[in-house]
Amino acid sequence: MNFTLKVWRQKNRNSEGRFESYTATNITPDMSFLEMLDAVNHDLVEKNQEPIAFDHDCREGICGSCGMFIKGRAHGPQKGGAACQLHMRSFVDGDLITVEPFRAQAFPVIKDLIIDRTAFDRIMQAGGFVSVNTGGVPDANAIPIPKTIADEAFSAAACIGCGACVAACKNASASLFVAAKVSQLALLPQGQQERKERVEAMLAQMDKEGFGSCSNTYACEAECPKEISVSNIARMNREYLKAALG
């Protein structure tokens, strides 16, 4: 297979970027999208040009490093997977593929397709934890948790922090990301003690980081590689209102 790529190249945080065109040749359908980029980069290095910089690590859809908007979609044209799990068989031979970084005020571009998502970490630092120190905790089975609640908490906790929700949202809102953590800890008994402070602190940090607000288009849920439900956003809103009014 052969493809024409239109890839966003940007030297650093402060410089203006632009699109460059590349051709990817001799690509096999079983190559992943990142392996296709590896092949393009290999050719670039052989031509003594700087390869395309992109974040990647586990390449099995769990580390959340991928931050690319491929053919107009966060993580490309597939449901429920990160860019590293996208294979070239999802494209038609000869396709023109536009690749740009996730775009948001809160996710500045560092270089080419590499973005800075540390805003997510700062939101987590604001309250995405249970304040327990190591040691001195009760036995794991001391507090039973209904299976349905534990399962629901897990589904929220499955978030990989990739930022596809922000990328897909027309408002670049981080609501689904924040809601996933708020929801997980609001569901579990361990999270009850700091329930009120947590949601307020995390949302305040989200606003401070310059993310937009949710206008309920549900694009985040549709593009989330872990298919995290927007019902978590509803729960977060409820938590917030209870905290703010209570």
């Binding site: 290095v45 604001a126 934890f129």
Partner: protein
């Protein structure tokens, strides 16, 4: 130098408690005077950084990812062991200890393994308290499942994402300390060197991966929790960035490297599809419970699997191991798969795969039953290969997965460099020659949450630390050496990409230092690696600039270290003239082609001291004493 593992005296069950009592404490108000550097933010690093900060130490945490949450611990699927005995199937600390020592083919320290089993229960308590959503029963209590190498159910899990959930728990504890200011966290920093002053580890030099600047971090102790070195093989189940640079450079500064040849090859991975493939993906080995493994009897039989009649198929594991069948341990299953492929009977376009067939399970129990049990794995397989495994058998092949070897540490997890501690997969401590499933997460968290917080205090309380500054010559010299190395890499301007050279190294290792090893092959590998290393330094091509975000340069530094480490793995494998665990020397097999240990000669930890690049390292031996378990030969016939 003689190796002192500092294993406490007394009965096995009392060793850790006695030792803890004898450890010196740092007074609470003095803790803030000590500064600890933690490199790596996976399970071991994040849990250590958080726990030490909670105690009051000032902690600097460094990682090469953009966020601590992206460390490769996140990819662990199966679960984490703890002998809670919740299922009432007669599990105990002793049983977990015994299974682990036996699973490691009697090449681990009894005392370490016992301590691991002792603290593992607390890990589960801790994680639950952090809000880790483990799987539960309808009654609301925690669920357990069984895993390879054990006859009890002691594995706690969170769907297929246990590593992720545990890491996010440790990450949340770390985040809390970062917010409090107790931990200073720096992202996108690649450790380039360990700095030793007056015989003490006192700091690290890191490369800021965004602007290429070399930065200095000074502390009273340094903890490396930087993971395993499986990527030396190029293709592995490790993340692409996983590397050995931190431990290797510490090794070059005096830390001994233990049992480097103990590398685990996992049997159920999705096989290589093409030369371009960048990594391998593991599928849970639970698939072997219901799938049957086979290859055609005929060499080079390229027929579609459904056209190969039953009598022309070789269910080789069932044939060779009638009692264990497809459920033989990881090392045996891997080795036999390689053997049939070497005979030319491998399947798929590359001939490097065997079938894992669910046709019988589907015929017996129905597709729905298989779907309920393994649906997510079948989906994953389809996503990667584009094939529907309900209709055609899966193709699997072994892949490098975990490295039991690592930097040598004593019972306190301190390396041979005073003040440098090594945790998690980066050290060698607990798994011997083979790691059992669901015990990597256990070890990483045990080290970080429940061992290092105590043992590091003793080191700090019993040593004096001269104040040092950034302009100390040890730092400036180290920086200079790194800059020169970088300059040498950048200026080579050869013809080959870093990945090309890395792939070639990987092939040599996979071929000769992989699942089955022999003297001739290992000697050949050593000379091939030596030649390749020369070529690397003269023929590598790195575009771009050194003082910029430059992924090719990052890789080059890592591969430069792999070129040296690869040779040491081969040397260690060559010297160990026995087969044990995952290390199979073809010369040392039983009549039935099984691993044959030589406990008389090799019941020791091989700890290698760096002797200079291209020079033979010096071997130190730490004898392993087995006072509580009886050494036996494994058999699965």
């Amino acid at each position: 130098m003689t190796l002192d593992a500092k294993i406490p005296d007394g009965p096995l069950e009392k060793k850790w408690d006695t030792h803890r009592f004898n450890l010196k404490l740092v007074n609470p108000s003095n803790k803030r005077k000590y500064h600890i550097i933690v490199v790596g933010t996976g399970l071991a690093g994040a849990s250590a950084a958080a726990s030490l900060a909670e105690l009051g130490y000032r902690v600097t945490s460094l990682c090469y990812h953009e966020s601590p949450r992206r460390a490769h611990s996140i990819a662990a699927q199966g679960g984490i062991n703890a002998p809670k005995n919740y299922p009432n199937d007669d599990d105990s600390i002793w049983r977990l200890f015994y299974d682990t020592v036996k699973g490691g083919d009697f090449r681990a320290r009894e005392a370490n393994v016992y301590r691991l089993a002792q603290v593992s229960g607390s890990i589960i308590d801790q994680c639950v308290a952090q809000g880790v959503p483990f799987a539960r029963e309808y009654g609301g209590l925690l669920d357990n499942r069984s895993f390879g190498g054990a006859q009890v159910s002691r594995t706690f899990y969170a769907r297929g994402q246990t590593g992720q959930q545990l890491l996010l728990g440790a990450y949340s504890a770390l985040s809390r300390q970062i917010h409090k200011g107790q931990v200073k966290f720096y992202d996108r920093r690649d450790m380039m060197d360990l700095v030793v002053i007056d015989g003490q580890a006192r700091g690290v030099i890191v490369r800021n991966m965004i602007n290429g600047e070399l930065e200095t971090y000074i502390g009273d102790a340094v903890i490396l929790a930087t993971g395993g070195y499986g990527n030396v093989f190029y293709l592995s189940t490790n993340a692409k960035q996983s590397n050995a640079t931190a431990i290797w450079r510490a090794h070059k500064k005096g830390a001994f490297f233990a049992n480097p040849c103990f590398t685990q090859i996992h049997p159920t991975c999705i096989p290589l599809a093409s030369e371009h493939q960048s990594k391998l993906t593991l599928m849970s080995e639970s698939l072997r419970n219901d799938g049957r493994i086979w290859v055609p009897k005929q060499k080079g039989d390229k027929r579609s699997p459904k056209d190969i009649p039953m009598e022309e198929r070789d269910y080789y594991l069932e044939r060779l191991y009638p009692s264990f069948g497809n459920l033989v341990p990881r090392d045996v299953a891997s080795r036999r798969a390689k053997e049939v492929c070497d005979q030319g009977r491998g399947v798929g376009s590359t001939g490097l795969a065997v079938y894992l067939d669910f046709a019988d399970a589907i015929a017996r129990n129905g597709k729905q039953w298989v779907e309920e049990k393994y649906g997510n794995l079948f989906d994953m397989y389809q996503r990667i290969t584009g094939e529907n495994a309900y209709q055609t058998p899966m193709r699997i092949y072994p892949a490098v997965h975990y490295t039991m070897g690592g930097l040598w540490v004593d019972y306190n997890l301190m390396s041979t460099i005073p003040g440098m501690f090594v945790l998690g997969e980066a050290n060698f401590s607990d798994h011997g020659a083979n790691r059992l499933g669901a015990s990597a997460l256990m070890q990483g968290l045990a080290d970080g949450y429940f061992v290092i917080p105590y043992t590091i205090g003793d080191y700090l309380a019993t040593n004096k630390f001269k104040p040092v500054k950034e302009d100390h010559e040890a730092f400036t010299e180290s920086k200079k050496a790194i800059s020169e190395k970088t300059e040498q890499l950048m200026s080579a301007q050869g013809k080959r990409t870093v990945d090309d050279l890395h792939k070639e190294l990987g092939k040599i290792l996979w071929e000769h230092v992989g699942m089955a090893r022999n003297e001739a092959g290992l000697k050949k590998a050593i000379s091939m690696i030596t030649a390749l290393r020369k070529q690397f330094w003269s023929d590598v091509r790195i575009p771009g600039k050194a003082n910029d975000l430059n992924p090719e340069l990052e890789k080059a530094h890592r591969v430069a270290d792999f070129m040296e480490l690869g040779e040491m793995i081969a040397r260690d494998a060559l010297h160990r003239e026995e087969s044990c665990g995952c290390h199979l020397r073809e010369e040392y097999q039983t009549d039935e082609n099984e691993a044959k240990r030589n406990d008389k000669k090799f019941a020791y930890v091989a700890a290698w001291e760096f002797g200079g690049t291209g020079k033979a390292p010096k071997l130190h031996k730490e004898a392993l004493k087995f006072e509580n378990v009886h050494l036996t030969q494994r058999s699965y016939k």
